[in-house]
Symmetry: C2
Subunit: 227 residues, 2 copies
Amino acid sequence: MSDTAPDLNVSREATSLRLLVENRLRSAIGSGVFKPGQRLIERELCEQTGVGRTSIREALRQLEAEGLVTTIPHRGPIVSTMTAEEAAQLYDLRGLLEGYAGRECAKRRDPAIIARLRAEFKQMSAVAGHDDRSDLLAAKTKFYAALLEGCGNIFVERFLNMLLNRVTVLRMTSMTQANRIDKSLSEIETILVAIESGDEDGAERACVQHIQNAAAVALDALRRAES
Amino acid sequence: MSDTAPDLNVSREATSLRLLVENRLRSAIGSGVFKPGQRLIERELCEQTGVGRTSIREALRQLEAEGLVTTIPHRGPIVSTMTAEEAAQLYDLRGLLEGYAGRECAKRRDPAIIARLRAEFKQMSAVAGHDDRSDLLAAKTKFYAALLEGCGNIFVERFLNMLLNRVTVLRMTSMTQANRIDKSLSEIETILVAIESGDEDGAERACVQHIQNAAAVALDALRRAES
DNA sequence: GCTTGACAGATTGTCTGACAATCAGCGAGG
DNA sequence: CCTCGCTGATTGTCAGACAATCTGTCAAGC
């Protein structure tokens, strides 16, 4: 990055309609507008979005590849469901990857990344008390985004993003984090401190621990709902 | 699974045209018919496959999500290229995941899986001397398939499959394994033995080691070609 | 009453043809 | 030699169409 050049990153954001639709659907699923198991009928989506079937179908293929929707032959796509068993596997993998990301962040100690992590942590602390948890969630998401970028491995970043999308869906069904916010915050602080001090093992351990705790709460709620 | 019920799994294999096209393209890319960087023009693919643009485009979206092709806006899809840097990241992640898979296999010690692993290893040893390495590659692929299934984590399995597809592309460019076959075989035997004896740490270590060695050879060739 | 089979409706899977938007390369002009 | 505008190629997107297939229902038969 040059010091002199102004940021001319126009980045026509999402150029293609297909991408717009894709993001729309992704967030609709993530925010629970479309619930797991619900059918997504092409023509209805066409009417709701105002785009042709072509774009809808291509967007759905993408989401299918990401695992967010499941297409039943000649029946059409539904929002993917997850058994408690699968959710456990998801959290296992997430722990593995996020542990790796934490370790790499601690190893690299990129100042820009650390600054972002710290800023988002501050933001999280600031809004932790709000009734509306969407602020907290947004900050948390940004914290993770920084963590993933910081690991410097594009594949880890991509895969973890996929996993996080699916976790978000889970979160809707399991309505977790009642008073886990405080604990969660302190866990995240542990991660942050470890990364800042370059403690690779500590950062990895803290990340894994954080995921395991989150998993325990989520899986408990999920299993109860599944019974 | 019931003991009495016969296996009525008819499994009409790949129903939709789109899936057929997808697999065709995937293997065409994997086998080097389409080379990295090459443009994939929709209308040409239509003629070559005899299907409509609809199906082609949807298949391409899937491959794009897997990272096998990259779509340049208003220019169309090309077979994805990889820098040495990215390849190194890919191998890093592959080591992480495959280490996990090896560990889990050793932990679970599923007899069916172990039998498959051993059978494929035998097959590999048998065909190692052939000039045509496609037999060896096929057996190796099956060995990995068993390893991935054996880890019991569907997400790990899915992600590793994606990574392996991209490694296959790399292999085309870097023409590795001259006389690495013997070493490679003995490394795989180490993995197998560790899994059979339930040595979790050993299995993980052996897997990671195997990937690192493979990575070293591949990256060396790649960097030389890139210069 | 319960099972079987046929029918109708809904929805996907796929093709065709079309058109505007956009990009890459080329040649004219300075 | 560099810049500008044109032309051709290709994608992005739409609308309409049709067969294949699934689901649910309802009548017929045991």
